[in-house]
Symmetry: C2
DNA sequence: TTGACTGTATTATATGGCTAGTACAGTTGG
DNA sequence: CCAACTGTACTAGCCATATAATACAGTCAA
């Protein structure tokens, strides 16, 4: 059963998107594996203190991305292989890193300073 | 007059926030300076193809942050000094970099790989 | 088998972002 | 002076996000 202990929702981004990202990043990290069971919509919504429909929206999108498999009556399970994870990793990395390099460039920060800053902030958590 | 030629709105983030960030990052970069005139709400909204109220919302927030000064009838002007810019830079950097380090960590990426990836993507633009 | 769980679907309401249109008072330049 | 600009304010509508309540059919374990 996939754990959501490490899921800390932020405001600003839609919750259903954060759930989506949590699953996708877990798959890339290898902490979420093929065949793993997801909590039911009702259980997870109660756990996170949000509406079941919001969880359903996230799971429905995972279904459309073909990352999970659902059938009425049974829990949804992860359906991922090496190839899907490889593409996922590439897409998530590109999206995330593009945004930060764009932001730093707009602030007039050089490549060297950017690298120094990432290293500095990496340790401050 | 501050130019918005480099302003390329993305969808996903509210437009008024992107305008806010564009001004703030420009101030940090030094391309936007104290005393610089901002385009009028009507002119800028026409230029960006958005609603005047959306620009007004962004400018109103800049007013609340004490980064611009507005008076009815006249154009708004930048009102920034070294100290404001220093704080702005610190806050924007912390916010931006925290989000990327958090995302990379969730994907199980090491500090060294993170730095390598930033350097790699930096050149690919 | 059967009761408690599961996924799925529907309708309704509230809020925030964005658009559209209108209005009014202050300034600026010819 | 005054016409054209400026900032500011307001109402109304649309769409996405999130909530709330309910319903129904399929799965699964005791």
């Amino acid at each position: 059963m996939i754990s959501f202990d490490a899921f800390k929702p932020t405001d600003g981004t839609p919750i259903y998107q954060q759930i989506l990202l949590y699953i996708e990043r877990g798959a890339v990290a290898g902490t979420i594996r093929d065949g793993d069971e997801l909590p039911s919509r009702r259980v997870l919504s109660a756990l996170l203190g949000i509406n079941p429909n919001t969880v359903q929206k996230a799971f429905h999108l995972l279904e459309e991305e073909d990352l999970i498999e659902s059938q009425a009556g049974a829990k949804s399970v992860m359906k991922i292989d090496e190839e899907k994870i490889r593409k996922l990793r590439e897409n998530l990395l590109r999206e995330d890193i593009r945004s930060i390099t764009g932001a730093l460039r707009q602030m007039g920060i050089s490549r060297e300073e950017a690298i120094r800053l990432i290293g500095q902030y990496w340790d401050e958590e």
